[in-house]
């Protein structure tokens, strides 16, 4: 809002009348400008009329109506000391430790019951048997073959490592194989 120069604007007068603007220059302008003073007074008088009218209207309501209102209010009041939520909150405050311990225990029991319930104990049915790639290649130097012999050939090339295992019976005829 710009400062007043010659004559204050209506908004400046309104701010001044409402106590929103404490401006010495504006006050000096008002002293010199009877029209502006009359506008400011008119603003304040509207306030007096509205306030007075509403307060008189409220005063005109008979006490009995407000007494009846209080009875209705009183009938719907829930005492903070006895309200359900207050009682629950107070009980929780008192037994907080027990409640937390109980809740954790109950959770653990529920988890166990869930895992051990019939049909879930057959864990093999859920074992994933798919082959997985090993991080390092297995190296086989020899294979113990009772009653026979074996030969292990390790092959290394650019594709990786492979082992070829040759097993033969001790007394078998090689020609028959």
């Amino acid at each position: 809002m710009s400062r007043p120069t010659s004559s204050p604007t209506d908004l400046e007068l309104m701010e001044h009348a409402d106590g929103e603007r404490d401006d010495a220059e504006l006050a000096a302008l008002l002293e010199r400008d009877p029209d502006a003073r009359a506008k400011r007074d008119a603003i304040q008088q509207i306030g007096e009329l509205v306030r007075g009218h509403l307060e008189l209207s409220a005063d005109a309501v008979h006490d009995a109506r407000f007494a009846a209102m209080w009875r209705r209010v009183d009938g719907q009041l829930v005492s903070p000391a006895t309200s359900l939520w207050s009682r629950v909150a107070a009980w929780f405050d008192r037994y907080r430790g027990h409640v937390i311990t109980g809740a954790v225990s109950a959770g653990a029991v529920a988890a166990l019951a869930l895992v051990l319930r019939p049909g879930v104990s057959d864990l093999a049915g859920h074992v994933d048997m798919r082959p997985v790639a090993l991080r390092s290649t297995p190296e086989i130097d020899s294979v113990d073959t009772p009653g026979g012999s074996s030969t292990v050939i390790n092959l290394d090339d650019e594709d990786g490592h492979a082992a070829v295992i040759w097993v033969s019976a001790a007394d078998s005829d090689p020609e028959a194989i």
Binding site: D10, L13, A42, E48, L49, G52, L54, A58, R72, V73
Partner: protein
């Protein structure tokens, strides 16, 4: 910020706010009598606020009732940073605005929400209603006209005007309460006041014979002086401020 000396203060009923805090603390412990005392202190003030916004006496009563029930329900959330009434009026205001939204028949169109410079077309008029608004309020016709003028304001304009004039809220507080900018609040307040002034000045520029009689106590000679304060008020009538202080 300065507060003009001319502005009548919001009635505090001479009570110490600490007193309210003690009552709130007692009510938080379940003391219904303490809450009843708070109700008795603020029900009329809360009603005036609700009535100003809603304009319907029965609906305003419902809103105030609901506000006190809600205030009690959430009393444990009240931390005492503000006064109890400040907390209560926010509840009343929110419920009143909710009520208006629920019962709105026509979607309001605010064409002037973002206008910050309202001097362009219709400026405020340097006209006042006689010298004593309290005496003017004793006139039934003027009261009716104020009622009609408030009725004709849009919900937003009326809400801002009532918050400002009845509760003395700052522009910033009103912007927060209505979730809008301070500029919007200023615009709404300006237009609300200008429209109120237009409605009321029409009454004064063309006063009826009854109004002249009301304002002059029946003296026809005073009619030529316009609508200034009457020379003699009927003895049964009291200025608004006196009427308020006696009833509280």
């Amino acid at each position: 910020m300065n507060k003009p000396a001319q502005r009548a203060s919001i009635p505090t009923h001479g009570r110490d706010p600490v007193d309210d805090r003690e009552l709130v603390t007692a009510a938080q412990r379940g003391d219904r009598d303490a809450f009843k005392t708070l109700f008795e202190r603020y029900h009329r003030r809360a009603y005036a606020l609700a009535l100003g916004v809603i304009r319907h006496p029965d609906d305003a009563m419902d809103v105030v009732q609901e506000a006190f029930i809600k205030a009690h329900k959430y009393l444990d959330k009240f931390e005492g940073n503000a006064s109890f009434y400040t907390w209560l009026y926010r509840i009343v205001m929110n419920l009143a605005i909710d009520h208006l939204r629920k019962h709105r028949k026509v979607k309001p169109v605010e064409l002037d929400e973002n206008r910050i410079e309202p001097d362009g077309d219709e400026p405020l008029l340097p006209r006042i209603l006689g010298g004593n608004p309290g005496q003017a309020l004793m006139d039934k016709q003027i009261r009716t006209r104020i009622d009609q003028a408030l009725e004709q304001l849009s919900e937003n304009h009326r809400s801002v005007l009532v918050m400002r004039e009845l509760e003395g809220l700052s522009y910033e507080d009103m912007a927060q309460a209505m979730s809008c900018s301070k500029g919007t609040i200023m615009s709404r307040l300006f237009h609300a006041r200008r429209n109120m002034q237009k409605q009321l000045l029409d009454l004064l520029d063309h006063p009826s014979a009854e109004l002249i009689d009301d304002l002059t106590g029946g003296s026809a000679a005073a009619a030529n002086d316009g609508a200034d304060a009457p020379a003699a008020e009927p003895t049964s009538r009291k200025p608004a401020t006196a009427a308020r202080s006696q009833s509280r």
